[in-house]
Amino acid sequence: MAPEAILSHLHRADGSATYTHNGYCVIGAVNGPIEVQRRDEMPEEATVEVNVRPAVGVGSPKERHLETLLHNTLRSIILTRSIPRTLVQITLQVRSLPEEEISTGVNTTLTLLPHILHTALLALLSASIPLSTVLTSTLIAIPSAPNARPATPLVSPTAPELLRAKPIRSVHVFAFAGDGRMLLNESDGVFSFEEWDEAAEAAEEVCCKEEGGVGLGEGVDVDGKEGTNLEIWLREVVKRKVELEQRWKSAR
């Protein structure tokens, strides 16, 4: 199932997005470029501030960890040098998590990370902050194989799927830039290099557009079942945004 996204729906923020996928729902808002506090000001770059708020309660070290990961990844795609001495403020509010989230037994930071990355990107696109590229991200889970044969990695599994495949040996989150460069990798659990390599390949297949393959507009079936390539999905979302903005041209 492809993720659902609504763009620019908060009218007080410069850019906003709500993203829903596999029971995860995150609201993102971006304000910027705005005036930066003197102590955070950098003479030749923009300051990026990321705030992650959990679905329940107040922020904990888990949210701080997510903020650090997001900050480093987004700093590398925002053209910070074209808007020096300003602040880009990104606020992400987790609205809901799937019920089975706690009982899956995998690192909940990693299961949330791809969704939160996508929300942040969509909100940045909605705020028209200059970016050098876009990013797509996915979660790969490798279940432990009972009888010595290598387990097939689960691509972007839902929480019930993870629960059924229990015990999970390792989970990996990958993020790729629009040109196919790997931007982020976070792995957790026990795995061999071969397994990691296989996971990275599976993630690249979902995240990046196939080289020299089918044209943009056509839906490409990855493995025949997943049916969504994230880059094609992203283009679809942006196309809807642009069509909404340009509809006055054809209005009567």
Binding site: D14, L125, A127, S128, P130, V238, K249, A251, R252
Partner: protein
């Protein structure tokens, strides 16, 4: 203006055949908002939107209607005076951004002895003379070549309305923007509208009722992307209510 809807994402390369083919005298390519040049000869996008090109001017830019106003030289804006410091007023173009400077002497007929006095929160219609990423924007209320005001200066009476940046651009673009409501209303009632590129629309209709009706109607055109027929219907409704 050639407009084929080419949707682009940040980081997309603009291929040579998508760039404008110069038909005029101008040979150098002009890049507008949303495009950047990566030496030696790659043109890449930085924001999501629709690619627009103009063959006559040999220019390419990205059309988008979201985000915060970014000051650009030559833009007409409605600025809010925050206070006076030394030789200039500190003005706000959008909330939470560094203030823009408007010199006391940058008004029609202003001299050292007769400088304008504006209390905080006065609205002024001004032109941006300089805006770069390395300096705060600077405003002026006179045309530098003639020394005349040409409609710039303090905006009096009426009320300010918020509109989208794209709407402001359309209203300033004249007939190309497709906003026909003011002309339709203008045949029956008198009013004054001022459009700032920073997304502020100022309407003075003489009475509170007229001001609100016209301002709200223009906001409705913005939000619902009304075409010419719908605008005509709206204009009739507004005239009936007045």
């Amino acid at each position: 203006m050639a407009t084929s809807l080419t949707v682009v994402l940040p980081g997309d390369e603009i291929l040579q055949d998508a760039l404008p083919t110069p038909t005029g005298k101008k040979k150098t390519l002009t890049l507008g908002p949303g495009l950047r040049h990566i030496p030696p000869n790659t043109i890449a996008t930085t924001i999501a939107g629709a690619l627009a090109t103009d063959n006559r001017k040999n220019a390419a830019w990205i059309e988008f209607n979201s985000g915060r106003y970014i000051p650009t030289t030559g833009d007409l804006v409605i600025a809010t005076v925050q206070g006076s410091a030394g030789e200039s007023f500190n003005c706000l173009l959008s909330p939470n951004t560094p203030p823009a400077a408007l010199p006391h002497l940058a008004f029609e007929g202003a001299t050292r002895k007769t400088r304008p006095q504006f209390p905080p929160n006065t609205l002024v219609y001004a032109r941006i003379v300089s805006a770069g990423k390395d300096s705060a924007p600077e405003l002026t209320c006179v045309e530098p070549s003639t020394g005349k005001g040409d409609g710039l200066g303090q905006v009096k009476g009426g009320m300010g309305f918020k509109i989208s940046l794209g709407m402001a651009r359309r209203m300033l673009a004249g007939s190309k923007g497709g906003i026909t409501l003011p002309e339709m209303l203008g045949q029956k009632v008198g009013f004054e509208i001022t459009v700032g590129r920073n997304g502020i629309l100022h309407v003075d209709g003489g009475s509170v009722k007229a001001t609100l009706a016209i301002g709200r109607a223009l906001q409705e055109i913005d939000e619902q992307a009304l075409g010419e027929k719908a605008q005509k219907k709206l204009a009739e409704g507004v005239l009936k209510s007045l």
